[in-house]
């Protein structure tokens, strides 16, 4: 009774909040699209030049646009005092955290994954790599949101935590980036991509069962430091 109530109560609230500020949802996506459209303009419109870069560009843009949306993940709740109520009454806090991250992923990671095949075509991403890369993003963006959430929770009390947040989480994003790009290389070489996708899936599962606890702990500490 209590735990589904905690999860869905938080999900409804965060969902309503996300829908009331569509700009905050659109910004990381617009950033993603813009960065990717700059590559054919800035590097070369030749598909022979773009094709080998395409998967890497998609992943780096996805990583940076995820980073862009992270800073505000818990900041507003803290400033309003809602975080105190959440820590006081929301025990166990991980379920509210999971709901918040799910809403965040539905608003950033999911649309970004869905846009990837289209933007991949713009970057001359080889046909055979299109769906493997999309599958990689579908598994990888939840990891980015979960790990990024830990960084956002740790820096929530800092006035200008943005740079520190990037320094904290970007190194953690690197394995995801390497695995994600290697999916495309394997697909182009005609090799099976399932093993690497399985690694990404394992990473997502591991992040799903560990990161919410770290986030809950970091948020409790943030409330204690006032």
């Amino acid at each position: 009774m209590k735990i589904p109530g905690l999860f869905w109560g938080q999900f409804r609230r965060d969902g309503a909040l996300a829908l009331r500020q569509p700009g905050e949802l659109a910004n990381p996506l617009a950033f993603f699209v813009l960065v990717i459209t700059l590559f054919p303009l800035g590097v070369s419109p030749e598909s022979a030049v773009l094709a080998p870069l395409a998967a890497g560009v998609l992943w780096i843009a996805a990583l940076l646009s995820t980073l862009l949306g992270l800073e505000g993940l818990f900041r507003r709740d803290r400033d309003e005092g809602t975080l105190e109520q959440l820590v006081l009454h929301g025990d166990p806090l991980v379920f509210a955290v999971l709901a918040r991250l799910l809403v965040h992923w539905l608003g950033t990671g999911l649309p970004l994954t869905l846009l990837a095949p289209v933007l991949g075509a713009m970057l001359a991403l080889p046909e055979e790599a299109r769906w493997p890369v999309t599958a990689g993003l579908a598994l990888g963006t939840p990891i980015l949101v979960l790990l990024g959430g830990v960084g956002a929770a740790l820096t929530v009390s800092l006035r200008s935590g943005g740079v520190l947040l990037a320094l904290l989480v970007l190194p953690l994003f690197i394995p995801v980036l390497i695995l994600g790009v290697s999916v495309a290389e394997l697909a182009v070489a005609g090799l099976p991509t399932a093993p690497v996708l399985a690694w990404l899936g394992a990473g997502a599962a591991l992040a799903l069962v560990t990161a919410p606890f770290a986030i809950a702990g970091a948020l409790s500490i943030a409330v204690e430091t006032g």
């Binding site: 709740d77 309003e80 009454h89 204690e224």
Partner: protein, 203 residues
């Protein structure tokens, strides 16, 4: 019934190398409200945060009767983009999941905001936001035996102040207790006690 809702023994807290209070002992029995008074910076908010469990940096003993706690900080803990009803529905999902949403309408009516259910909180005045925040108290009622209120009278008009006083009296009559801070002088009444913080003690 005889065990106090809250007992504090030998509490000592330092902040920024300044002793806020030392050797502080008091208890809140059922049916009493304790007003914390003292100059700005005397440690009233810190004491409330210690009692709510938000400030682990203290020495001494704090023991609380089981049961949830209502804590209203000096920030109203409302999301400006959400309506009064949505904010309180989220609070209910944390504190008492499964409660009928009509309880929210009743609570808003109680704090004088009937008809404001669907107004985003950022469109409300500071006093109205404070009232939405205070609507949590009738919502929880005696299910949260101990109320900790930080400056509950801020931004309220005379009728708002009378409302908080009534809410406190009803809570005390139901066997609850409360600790609140305010600089407002309150008329003495049975069950209302005062605790002075600060170096000089009571003036």
């Amino acid at each position: 019934m005889d065990t106090p809702l809250l007992t504090v023994r030998q509490l000592r807290c330092e902040r920024d190398e300044r002793v806020l209070f030392a050797d502080l002992s008091f208890a809140v029995a059922r049916g009493t409200a304790l007003q914390l008074r003292g100059p700005n910076g005397a440690g009233k908010t810190t004491l409330l945060r210690i009692l709510a469990g938000f400030h682990p940096d203290y020495e001494g003993e704090v023991s609380r009767a089981p049961g949830p706690l209502a804590y209203l900080g000096h920030r109203p803990a409302l999301s400006g983009l959400l309506t009064a009803e949505e904010n309180l529905a989220h609070y209910l999902s944390l504190t008492a999941p499964g409660t009928a949403l009509s309880a929210i309408t009743d609570a808003l009516e109680r704090v004088g905001l009937a008809g404001y259910e669907d107004v985003p909180c950022q469109a409300l005045s500071a006093g109205q936001q404070r009232r939405v925040s205070l609507a949590r108290l009738p919502l929880l009622g005696i299910t949260a035996p101990l109320w900790l209120l930080d400056e509950p009278f801020t931004a309220l008009d005379d009728r708002g102040i009378a409302l908080v006083t009534t809410l406190l009296e009803e809570h005390q009559a139901a066997g609850g207790g409360a600790i609140f801070t305010t600089h407002q002088p309150l008329a003495p009444r049975p069950g209302l006690e005062t605790l002075w913080l600060g170096p000089e003690g009571a003036p």
